[in-house]
């Protein structure tokens, strides 16, 4: 089977630090991959390189048969990769609906004439988008669906995460990158959020997910396969149970006894 995403020999340097050191990673379509490793092992850098926020110093990334190594963040999104951020990056003064629509950019008409003059057509697109966004929000939290035009700033962390995930999902990406979705949330909230993510997966079996996570319970429950990074290199790969038992992995997390 051909991989949906394939990274080959990816290198990213920050001054003297090798954040990614020749990383190889292949993700098959509709897989859920857990990307784990201690702090500073290069997980978020990997996301940032894929999504074009950082340029890779060497190596390449192929997505869906297209080389996306050197393309802009915009092009990566258009190709079908959406992400969430480790530290929530919602636009806080804007409404829930607005935040989700930011993620829908590629499917909305952006012309000046369409937006300023053809208000009838604009209204139809707006209403269709509203229904889509509302349906998606309802999957995660029905209570939020009636508050679509309230600013995000007043919402608790779990709701913000949900909206961030909705923003990433609204454009129906092929690949979803989740960067520590449990950060800043309680254990129960995390469990709830994961159920919601699995629910979305139920509806769209083709969706491929890479998740960076420190809560091993989450990783164990939802991933098909785990990749463990340390110092920007892959040190183990396989099902969660195999990886968790790996001596090298234990050493990376706990140090040498």
């Amino acid at each position: 089977m051909t991989a949906l995403l394939e990274a080959r020999g990816l290198v990213k340097r920050f001054g003297g630090v090798l954040a990614l050191d020749g990383l190889d990673l292949a993700v098959a379509p509709s897989e859920i991959i857990g990307l784990i490793g201690p702090n500073g092992s290069g997980k978020t850098t990997f996301f940032n390189v894929i999504t074009g926020i950082y340029a890779a110093d060497a190596g390449g990334v192929i997505f869906d048969g297209v080389d996306i190594t050197a393309v802009s963040s915009r092009a990566v999104y258009r190709a079908g990769i959406s992400r969430t951020f480790q530290r929530s990056r919602l636009s806080l003064p804007l409404s829930i609906f607005d935040n989700i629509m930011i993620g829908n950019h590629k499917r909305l008409h952006q012309g000046l004439w369409f937006n300023l003059v053809s208000r009838g057509e604009f209204k139809r697109e707006f209403e269709a988008s509203y229904r889509a966004a509302r349906a998606l929000v309802e999957v995660f939290e029905p209570a939020l669906a009636s508050r679509m035009f309230e600013p995000v700033v007043g919402l608790p962390m779990i709701d913000r995460r949900r909206i961030e995930i909705c923003r990433a999902l609204i454009s129906e990406p092929k690949l979803l990158l989740l960067d520590e979705p449990s950060a800043g949330m309680t254990h129960d909230e995390t469990a709830e959020l994961m159920n919601d993510i699995l629910l979305v997966r139920e509806r769209n079996k083709d969706l491929t997910i890479i998740i960076v996570e420190h809560e091993m319970g989450v990783i164990e429950r939802i991933t098909n396969r785990c990749v463990v990074l340390n110092f920007g290199r892959k040190i183990a790969e396989g099902a969660y149970r195999e990886v968790a038992g790996d001596a090298q992995v234990q050493e990376a997390y706990l140090g040498v006894a």
Binding site: L94, F122, F149
Partner: protein, 387 residues
């Protein structure tokens, strides 16, 4: 409960009462001559607003306004007409009203740039001046219809503004603002040493003339005589309505959303496909276009342009209107423009201390009401629309 969530519509009357009271108050203030009377009126105005806020009446007005914005827009136009009709013979007051209208257009332009796209422009008065000088030159040397001259004024301002695009796009935040300050200083010096444009003395601007109707003649209809400024009042009002509709629609569209997204988080916005450069350029050009048109018309109204009218200090006044009114709220801008233009003009005793007053006002607003007098509400694409 937050705005937009209410299922039942608020009544129209609180807002109508507020608008009527405000119009009456404005007429009284504009008509007052004695300094003591003006000072008491200003004190009364502040007291009424504070009292209304205290008794939570303003909240009622706000809700009613949010639900009937388009209707109220119509009534606001009517209010402007009433004010002009009341002072139909008074050159001075009409000029003041026109100044408010055209400064509002200019600050709407700044609002697109700073309020939405986050590009702070400290050269607002310069672009206003570019429009004014354009109409001075074109009216003197060409037979271009004056309506076209207005458009060209806007286009020239946008075009000259595009010189700033590269530095503005390459720098961020304060640094981009410094670039515009440099431009404002450069622009004034350029005018002063340029003999073709009249040097420091400036030049005359021919009055507006549309299809043989000269705007600089007083109007006689039967026994009623109207100040020639009535001509300019009508066209300025039309310009403001047009600019207002454009800016309102811009905000209530995906473009407005794009601008907000890039202002708040460029990185996240570009991770969702937004072309930051394209939309910053769009906002900057639209903003300068509006400022330029307003300037072109203002040049004809004043019939004279000189470098000293378009200084960095004037740009600061435009920015202070933006801060005072509520960044991103077009209605707030109009209220703030009225305050900033009318109060010093009526209150002759403080004329020399104008800038001191502005400075205190801006500091006060930033300290106690950082979102401005009328904070920008959450975007509602169609105010009357309910899910």
């Amino acid at each position: 409960m937050a705005e937009g969530a209410e299922k039942t519509r608020a009544p129209l009357w609180p807002c109508l009462i507020a608008l009527t009271a405000a119009t009456g108050y404005l007429i009284a203030l504009l008509a007052a001559e004695k300094q003591t009377l003006i000072i008491s009126l200003l004190a009364l105005g502040i007291a009424v607003v504070v009292a209304a806020a205290w008794f939570r009446l303003l909240e009622k007005v706000r809700r009613s306004f949010a639900d009937h914005e388009d209707t109220l827009g119509g009534f606001a136009i009517l209010a402007a007409l009433v004010v002009a009709a009341f002072f139909h013979e008074d050159h001075f007051v009409l000029l003041l009203v026109i100044t408010v209208l055209l400064y509002s257009v200019a600050t709407l332009g700044l609002n697109v740039q700073f309020g939405y796209a986050g590009v702070l422009n400290f050269a607002g008065a310069s672009f206003f001046g570019i429009g004014a000088y354009t109409s001075a030159v074109l009216n003197a040397h060409t037979a271009l219809p004056h309506m076209v001259v207005l458009l060209v004024g806007g286009l020239v301002a946008a075009l000259v503004g595009s010189l700033l695009l590269l530095p503005v796009l390459r720098t961020r935040g304060h640094y981009a603002a410094v670039v515009t300050i440099a431009f404002a200083l450069l622009f004034k010096t350029f005018l002063e040493v340029n003999d073709v444009l009249g040097g420091p003395q400036g030049m005359q601007v021919k009055g507006m003339n549309i299809l043989g109707w000269s705007f600089n003649d007083n109007i006689e209809i039967g026994k009623i005589s109207l100040s020639f400024y009535m001509n300019y009042f009508v066209i300025s009002l039309l310009l403001l309505i047009g600019a207002f509709v454009v800016v309102r629609r811009l905000e209530r569209s995906w473009i407005g959303l794009n601008l907000d997204a890039l202002r708040l988080d460029e990185t996240a916005a570009s991770c969702f496909g937004l072309d930051v450069v394209r939309w910053k350029i769009t906002a900057f050009l639209i903003g300068n276009f509006l400022i330029g048109i307003a300037g072109a018309l203002f040049g004809m109204v004043g019939s004279f342009v000189a470098p000293n009218n378009y200084t960095f200090a004037d740009s600061l006044i435009l920015v202070s209107i933006l801060l005072l009114g509520g960044i991103g709220n077009p209605w707030g801008l109009i209220v703030a423009t009225i305050i900033v233009v009318v109060v010093p003009e009526k209150l002759q005793t403080i004329q020399e201390y104008r800038f001191l007053l502005y400075a205190l006002l801006v500091i006060g607003v930033l300290l106690f009401r950082p979102e401005g007098l009328l904070p920008r509400p959450v975007r509602r694409y169609f105010p009357e629309w309910r899910p």
